[in-house]
Amino acid sequence: MTKNVHTLNKDSIFKGRLQNIVYFVGYSFEVMLQMVRFFQNRRIGKIVLYRQILYTGYEALSLIALIAFSIGGIIILEGNAILQGFGQSKIFYTILVSVVTRELACILTAFIIIARSGTAISTELGNMVINEEIDALRSFGISPISYLIVPRVLGVIISMITLALFFNAFAILGAWLLSYLFYSLNFSTFFTSLFSELTIRDIVSGTLKAVAFGFTIAIISSYEGMKVTFASTEVPQRTIKAVVLSLTWIIIFDIIITMWLYFI
């Protein structure tokens, strides 16, 4: 009897998870479909898109600039100190490109977006479900996906690309400034050497990751927010789940994209 109950529980848990995966895949496809339609008729949702870019992109600029500037500078100081001992100080440009442009810019920007905007999207949508705001949109005939989700997904993707570019710019600026202050490296030598290390593949990798991470954060956070049903106590639970899932999938996509572009 106990064995049967355990089997039944496992079966229902498995069915529940499978159903959740099917719903999530269907939801993601619906969002992608509505993204195409958004550009055909974006009259209603454009204000939501502008607001999302403002919150996710513009308001995070100073934080991104500070972190990027510090990290660029630290990499130069630490890298140069170690590499000089081996007489290899010239390869710190390679390290700067591979560490910042290929990896850190997108990963750290994504972490900041998860912390600031992923949580905000999930919480806001969860509360909107409870306050019957989603039902109100349905009663007007406005699709909540096209009005609420698509502008958020597009806003996060656009912000992610822009912030990752800003991260790169400020990290390089930080690296140059500290190189100049500590090693008297002039502007043209620094940037000529740096750009000679930068390849098209690095730019493609950075852009691809920014798009993939932005989409992942927005789609997971919005899905978890929309899954809230009745109680406000579900909102923080769903938000935590959105953060954990976003972090996990970003790391997985990072590995996949890096392996695909550099090792296959």
Partner: protein
């Protein structure tokens, strides 16, 4: 666009049967009241009629158009002529009152200018003796009465053929209750609007052309207000005694 037909509606939520095999043709261009004990989820029925919730089985048709299977274009035309008044929620908290009132108008009436839409809203605010100062406020700044009036004005501004109300007089003081009741009668008389409300208000039930008693997930009894008031069924009598004769109104 005024004929609402429910065919074998069933709705199940987490193994609970909320609606069971409901079929009904609402009288077009008239006022229908749904009377129900508080513990019954009659607002679920209203949300299904409004196309907000999808039934587990069964159909809702409006002038023959199935709300859950018809294509987007046909449904948009139906939505343009239909408004839903929520009981207390259903207002977008991150928009101002004006943005909330304009949202359905912007979606359904792109041919109207911004000023024309605002004129409609201001005319309604003036009709109900409300200040236009509320337009710049966020919903969180409104008291429950003004919030309820905003929900009603949002529906009336659409100039719909069908209005569905979830407790239209909830949270309203007596003079607003009178004004809203009179506006509902005006819509029925002048515009021939089909109106369905869920309420326990004696005043509203008196102006209804038919009353449906919703009990145990189904339409338990239906008839003219006088027939329902004089019903000999003990369960119907209990509901009426509990909510009408005891003088419990919507607040």
């Amino acid at each position: 666009m005024k004929n609402i037909r429910l065919i074998n509606l069933n709705y199940r939520q987490e193994n609970e049967e909320i609606l069971q095999n409901i079929s009904h043709n609402f009288i077009p261009e008239s006022i229908s009241g749904i009377l129900s004990p508080v513990e019954e989820k009659a607002s679920t029925l209203l949300k299904i009629i409004g196309g907000i919730l999808e039934p587990t089985s069964g159909t809702v048709t409006i002038d023959g158009i199935d709300l859950f299977t018809e294509d987007r274009k046909a449904l948009k035309a139906v939505r343009k002529k239909m408004a839903f008044v929520f009981e207390r929620k259903g207002i977008l908290s991150n928009l101002t009152v004006q943005e909330n009132l304009l949202l359905p108008l912007d979606y359904h009436f792109p041919e109207l200018s911004h000023q024309q839409k605002l004129d409609r809203i201001v005319a309604l605010l003036e009709h109900f003796a409300m200040s236009t100062n509320i337009l710049s406020l966020r919903p969180a700044k409104l008291n429950s009465q003004t919030l309820k009036m905003t929900l009603l004005i949002r529906a009336f501004a659409m100039e719909p053929d069908i209005v569905l109300y979830d407790n239209p007089l909830a949270d309203l003081e007596l003079h607003y209750q009178k004004a809203v009741t009179s506006y509902i009668q005006k819509l029925s008389r002048d515009n021939k609007t089909t109106q369905i409300f869920l309420s326990t208000s004696p005043t509203l039930l008196k102006i209804a052309h038919e009353v449906l008693v919703f009990l145990n997930g189904t339409i338990f009894e239906k008839g003219l207000p006088e027939q329902i008031n004089g019903s000999t069924n003990p369960l119907t009598k209990k509901i009426i005694n509990d909510y009408l004769e005891a003088g419990v109104n919507e607040t």
